[in-house]
């Protein structure tokens, strides 16, 4: 009996398919199987021995049955795995989705900037791209024959109507419509009669305005520094005096050059700084032009979206934005 068990264990070890297992089962537990044969020998034994022998055979039988069952499970697992393995495919082949679209880098930049200012509580307003001279210049404290008009070469529709040269007219439009406090940004296209590697006759600006009681130049510094850090990461920010007819005091904002980290390079003309924003406290004349009460004041700012996008994505030619080469656009599908 002991020998049979050993023999069985040897035999089952090498079995790896159902057919062989069936044969093995027949060989040991079948009608003429080894174990069945043993049962037949029981009748030859005495009562005492019968009991003992019978018990041992039954043990052997159930041992073999269990072993076969276990093997059966193993084989089933193996067969299943094998058939799945046979179905395996090249997972490196590309998907069926072949057209990946993309949002234009200018729009991406506007969305990012909008979301930062929205999180600070600013609204978003839109203005007109074709504006009256009055809104684009005069109400912004830029009378006719003011030298500041030289700063912006203007496209004219007729003597009184222009393509807006900046998004600032929206300031006046909104203030004429709404009572203070107001707090909004306004993105959009602007136009200047100018074209070279860094200038495009059409480009995008984002205007910002915050008017309330008791707003300080220090608030302007705080809000814009925070915005620039959120957009560009942890960069040094500096404010230096400048001039815009519609703000006083006025400032230009520089960030430490993100290309050379302030060491000086071609992009920053070796100054270590990049000019990114113009801003200032809204000029009292502008507030008077929209009949705001005297106890209100605030700040305004304007930034060039292309400049921000160029710095953020390392784009070196402004023309790329407007050629709409699909090879360029598809790079912004992220």
């Amino acid at each position: 009996m002991h020998y049979i068990k050993k023999e069985f264990e040897e035999a089952i070890k090498n079995i790896d398919n159902n057919e062989a297992l069936k044969q093995l089962k027949a060989q040991f537990l079948g009608k003429k199987g080894r174990v069945t044969e043993l049962f037949k020998r029981i009748s030859d034994l005495g009562n005492e021995q019968k009991k003992e022998f019978g018990k041992n055979i039954n043990q052997l039988k159930s041992y073999i049955e269990n072993a076969i069952k276990e093997k059966q499970t193993q084989i089933n697992e193996f067969v299943k795995r094998k058939s799945l393995e046979e179905e395996s495919i090249d997972i490196t082949l590309p998907s069926r989705v072949s057209n990946f679209g993309a949002i234009h880098p200018i729009t991406k930049t506007i969305i990012e900037i909008e979301d930062i200012f929205k999180s600070m509580g600013f609204d978003v307003e839109t203005g007109y791209e074709i504006e009256y001279d009055k809104y684009n210049f005069e109400l912004l404290n830029i009378p006719k024959e003011h030298p500041a008009r030289d700063m912006q070469d203007t496209f004219y529709i007729n003597d009184n109507v222009v393509l807006r040269t900046h998004t600032s007219p929206t300031q006046v439009r909104v203030m004429q419509k709404k009572n203070p406090p107001v707090m909004f940004i306004s993105p959009g296209k602007v136009y200047r009669r100018d074209s070279d590697i860094t200038h495009s006759p059409m480009f995008h600006q984002i205007e910002g305005l915050l008017i309330d009681k008791d707003i300080h130049f220090s608030d302007l510094k705080g809000v814009l520094s925070e915005f620039l850090r959120m957009f560009f990461g942890d960069v040094p920010v500096r404010f230096r005096p400048s001039y815009f007819p519609f703000t006083e005091p006025s400032a230009e904002v520089d960030i430490g050059c993100i290309i050379c980290k302030g060491k000086g390079c071609r992009v920053c003309s070796h100054t270590g700084y990049l000019e990114v924003l113009g801003c200032g406290m809204v000029h009292p004349n502008v507030l008077r032009n929209v009949n705001y009460p005297k106890d209100y004041n605030g700040f305004a700012f304007g930034l060039g979206v292309e400049r921000f996008a160029m710095l953020k994505y390392g784009i070196d030619n402004i023309k790329l934005f407007f050629e709409n080469d699909v090879r360029f656009l598809k790079q912004f599908s992220f």
Binding site: A102, V161, M202, K221, Y243, F322, L329
Partner: protein, 788 residues
């Protein structure tokens, strides 16, 4: 403007380097673009000992201290004893040009004498740069004071007229470094036997345009200016001409006062400051004739214009080599008047630039005195007794009161009173403390930009430093306003279309009117630019399609095989003298839709484009009506107008084959250009963010297919509508369409219909009954037959 560091130091003590100074004034509002040390290319002083003429060349012997060199030059003006910068053979000058020995017959030129251009002081020179005769032969140029200098390029904002001179920059430096201004010596002697009033008089006819006119007269000798004047003018970007003109320019650069010297003997009787009469002409110093009008101020004699006031002198009345006596003008002209004239004549000069922005009216005499001092020294001037100072009023300083508290509140600072007053004192505002909270300021007459308290706040802040202003965060009590629907739509649509596989394009809003006419026959709606930059950008777009088709051409030329673009932007329609702006979505699809290992190559067609409009419907909870379009630029059989609430809000379709050529696109039967445009303002008006959900069927639904044959002209959407009108129909999908049947007038359509019943489960008979009913309705309405 280029400022010489050395010259600046004559006006104010500077104890910091040029770079440090540049940083300081930049941070105070005078933005420095660059600081460059003057390069001398290791040149040395050489004196001409001998000159031998040979053809167009002059072969010279030049004493360079330790040796005598043979040098050839082409400059005709050289004389024995003249000194020039010399670079020996082997040296290198501007743009890495190497100086080599050159042979002219037996003469071997062993070096080169330099012009100002070769030293990098100007763009081009007409001759060599003559040095002062006192310089020792062989001296390194870099050891000569005027060459040991830095040029500081400053970009001035238009408000800072006061700073457009060495003196002006020095005044800011003074306030930053807390030093004193040193004015140059300006005394001179007069000859008593000649009096100005005997030779000339001045009459101002328009005091508004010319509030002040001063004049001196002197006999002079016209010759070359001394070295320091010529080199400083060159450093300032002004070409030296002769001593008289140079000195007027020198004073202009030093003080910011434009001056003009007339040749007195060429003038008739007197000087009249008046408006020109229409059609009057003047030959100006630039050699061009200008036609004047009655709004332009001129300086005239008793006969004709002799100068365009504040802009440019007349050629025939200016200083020439034979000039013996000059009338020296220093005046104050009204900024707007000068600007109007300069702009109309398209004539921008150093003088007009300054007058337009504002020149100190109290500077006229001082500038004249300085010029006379120099003329006496460098033009042998004999100055006539007396001068003319024509003006109506004195030019008084504006005064107003400022509150310490207001300044600090505007800035958000806590600057102390002493600090503020000190800064303003250094800026010459003569601040006077009136009481605890108030002080008065007197605005210097050169500060045209200071009018109110806010201006004083900026002066204080810029001189103490913007970096001394803290950063704070305002708390604003604003009410939250609902987002504008159009803005939401634009942002959502951008994302949706990018996800659908289209790339967003951004195009110029001005386009070619000839192309626009293909898409819009109504030229009355066009808004033309009065001054387009180029011909092909002369009109504001009324459709986005033109720009997108240009993009398509551009991409095809770059060998693109698949172009799918959309643009969300404004279009512009004429509305009387103004415009109406609308937001539109434009789409162009062309080329390969899919080409990969799963499917065979497929090209974009009408139904891909329809996917875009259906997506708009889904995204904004709308339903468009699709009607055959009769737009001339669309394929008549493969295009549709989109209707919403009965209004035409856009189109989708294939570009008409006639238009391909005009965009340089080859027409290909398989590869079509598809364009669409949808009015987003209409979408905003009709779309709703609120939608009631439809209850789900309570019991399991049943699916049945129905295949029918109908006349080709029957619209599939009408059939679908009829099927959907049955209460038991939950959903319908058209899953097959075949129109290549033997009978070419018919097509077969197959629908999968989902049926529901909320009461009880359908029996087969009930289902058959419903399907029969549906079919009967289709038969009746569309003459449909079951597909055999």
């Amino acid at each position: 403007m280029r400022v010489s560091y050395r010259w600046l130091k004559e006006f104010v003590d500077i104890d910091i380097s040029a770079e440090e100074l540049a940083n300081k004034i930049t941070m105070a509002g005078l933005e420095v673009d660059s600081v460059d040390k003057i390069e001398t290319y290791k040149s040395i002083v050489g004196e001409i000992l001998e000159i031998q003429e040979k053809g167009s060349l002059y072969l010279t012997k030049v004493d360079v201290g330790d040796s005598v060199l043979n040098i050839a030059t082409a400059d005709k003006t050289i004389k024995i004893g003249d000194k020039f910068p010399v670079v020996k053979a082997g040296g290198v000058i501007k743009n890495d040009v190497k100086i080599e020995k050159r042979k002219f017959g037996d003469f071997v030129s062993e070096g080169m004498m330099l012009s100002a251009a070769e030293l990098g002081l100007e763009d081009s020179s007409s001759g060599l740069f003559r040095l002062d005769s006192s310089f020792k032969n062989g001296t390194n140029l870099s050891d000569i004071e005027e060459f040991d200098d830095y040029l500081i390029e400053i970009e001035f904002t238009p408000n800072r007229a006061d700073a457009l001179s060495i003196l002006g920059v020095a005044r800011d430096v003074r306030a930053l470094l807390k030093k004193d201004i040193k004015f140059p010596e300006d005394s001179f002697s007069v000859i008593s036997d000649k009096n100005i009033n005997n030779v000339i008089s001045v009459e101002i006819q328009n005091y508004d345009a010319c509030p002040r006119y001063t004049l001196f007269v002197a006999d002079v000798t016209v010759k070359e200016s001394p070295f320091f004047i010529r080199s400083r003018l060159l450093k300032s970007g002004i070409r030296p001409i002769n001593n008289i003109v140079d000195i007027t320019n020198y004073v202009l650069m030093a003080f910011g006062q434009p001056m003009h010297a007339f040749d007195l003997n060429r003038l008739n009787e007197k000087i009249v400051v008046r408006n020109a009469s229409k059609g009057e002409k003047i030959l100006a110093l630039d050699g061009r004739e200008y036609e004047l009008d009655e709004n332009m101020l001129i300086i005239a004699d008793s006969k004709e214009p002799i100068a365009i006031a504040g802009v440019m002198g007349g050629e025939n009345f200016s200083v020439m080599d034979d000039t013996k006596t000059i009338a020296l003008e220093s005046a104050f002209f009204d900024p707007v008047s000068v600007r109007l004239t300069a702009r109309k004549l398209k004539l921008h000069t150093d003088a007009s630039h300054r007058f337009e922005r504002g020149v100190d009216p109290n500077l006229c005499i001082k500038a004249n005195h300085y010029a006379l001092n120099l003329l006496e020294k460098y033009a042998d001037a004999k100055i006539y007794d007396g001068h003319i100072d024509a003006k109506k009023d004195e030019f008084k300083e504006k005064t107003f009161d400022v509150s310490f508290e207001n300044v600090n509140r505007l800035l958000g600072t806590n600057f102390d009173k002493k600090e503020m007053l000190e800064v303003l004192d250094y800026l010459n505002f003569k601040p006077k403390e009136l009481n605890d909270n108030t002080f008065s300021v007197s605005v210097p007459t050169y500060r045209f930009d200071i009018e109110m308290e806010a201006d004083i706040a900026e002066e204080v802040a810029r001189c103490i430093g913007y970096d001394k202003v803290p950063s704070t965060f305002p708390v604003v009590q604003t009410s939250f306003k609902p987002k504008k629907r159009i803005d939401e739509i634009k942002r959502q649509l951008t994302k949706t279309l990018a996800d659908y596989g289209l790339c967003e394009a951004v195009n110029y809003a001005f386009i070619d009117s000839n192309k626009l006419k293909l898409f819009n026959k109504n030229e009355n709606e066009f808004i033309y630019l009065k001054n387009p930059l180029i011909e092909g950008q002369d009109v504001m777009r009324t459709t986005l399609v033109c720009g997108l088709l240009d993009n398509l051409t551009f991409n095809i030329n770059k060998n693109a095989k698949s172009v799918a673009l959309f643009e969300i932007g404004r279009v512009f329609f004429k509305d009387n003298d103004y415009s109406k702006e609308l937001d539109k979505l434009g789409v162009v699809l062309w080329g390969v839709e899919s080409f990969n290992w799963h499917n065979k190559e497929r090209f974009y067609d009408f139904y891909d484009l329809k996917g875009v409009s259906e997506m708009v419907e889904k995204a904004f909870n709308l339903k468009f009506m699709y009607e055959r379009s009769n737009q001339a630029f669309l394929h008549p059989g493969r295009s549709a107008d989109l209707l919403l609430g009965g209004n035409n809000i856009g189109f989708i379709g294939e570009l008409h084959p006639d238009i391909y050529d005009l965009y340089d696109i080859k027409f290909d039967k398989k590869v079509r250009v598809l364009i669409a445009e949808i009015d987003l303002n209409a979408i905003a008006d009709y779309s709703s963010k609120i939608k009631m959900y439809e209850k789900l069927p309570k019991l399991p639904t049943v699916v049945r297919d129905l295949a029918i044959v109908v006349d080709k002209e029957v619209k599939a959407s009408n059939i679908q509508d009829v099927i959907e009108s049955f209460d038991s129909v939950y959903d319908v999908v058209l899953f097959d369409m075949y129109d290549k049947l033997e009978d070419s007038s018919i097509k077969s359509l197959a629908f999968r219909i989902v049926l529901k019943n909320d009461e009880k489960t359908f029996t087969d008979q009930e289902i058959d009954k419903i399907m029969d009913k549906i079919f009967s309705a289709l038969k009746e309405k569309f003459n449909a037959n079951l597909r055999g």
